[in-house]
Amino acid sequence: MENYFKEGGADVPMLDFNSKSGNMIIRGRSFPEDSVGVYLPVLDWIDLYIAFPADFTLLQFDLDYFNSSTYKAFLNILLKLEKLMGSDKKVKVEWLYHERDIDMKAAGEEFEELVDIPFSFRVK
């Protein structure tokens, strides 16, 4: 299956989803005018991916900021990957944040509460 890659911009993050390695990166800022248009293709890609996933899926959130309508898109991505838990495949989320950005760290912790995927937090 093909990888999913989209260059980031002022209001959209870089989306780099690799089907072979299982590495998925969301990096930058996310406050698009149309969050459905940005994230629906990603969600469709993940639907295909979870049918033939890599042994180890690592989803990395490396964000400076995301808006409220992006929350739902991120949760949907996580809920789809959560389906791999309990199979023989591994899934992990790595959440990056600036040391003093307690809000960003807290946002990651709230996602951690909502899904059954192990999270690790790292200062960038």
């Binding site: 406050f31 969600l43 808006n67 409220s68 929350y71 739902k72 898109a73 003093r100 809000d103 709230e110």
Partner: protein
Amino acid sequence: MAEKWIDHNTCFEWYSKLEKENLVLAFKGEFNHELVKAILVVTEQYKIDKGGPSRIFGVIVECLQNICKHGALVENEKKMRSGIVLMGKQNNEFLIGVGNFVHNDKVEVLKSRFDKVNKMDEDGLRQMQHGILVNSSLSEDGNAGIGIIYMARKTEGKMKYCFQEIDGKVSFFSLQLTVKI
């Protein structure tokens, strides 16, 4: 030709006024996504100054995107979504004021949303946000109230709002928020 009303004095008067009120940003005009991006460039310097907090950035985006999505079109020749945004800074506090037009039939809904959120504590807001996130679909219009909850969680004290009826169709909605960084 009509007398030009913008002269050197006007510029200095406005500059002095903004300076006196500690305003770091003032904009009146059409609100659209390009403006949101531009205003963020202005606010970003404060984010960097303070080593990170995405808070000020976040609250401004929610305010502006709310106006872009839900503001009423002004009945003039341009049919634009007009509004005003002011941002002041005092020590470690940012004061944000936004104003825009809303249709009168939306006033009660908005009031009850703000009142509901204003009555809740952090724990209640967090639970409400989680509930909406889990139960809403990606394509739901706007963001199903998440924006207001987000604002409440990132601001100090209660969100102060006011509706001034302009005519039978629209009211001017203004919101005052305080963000500590």
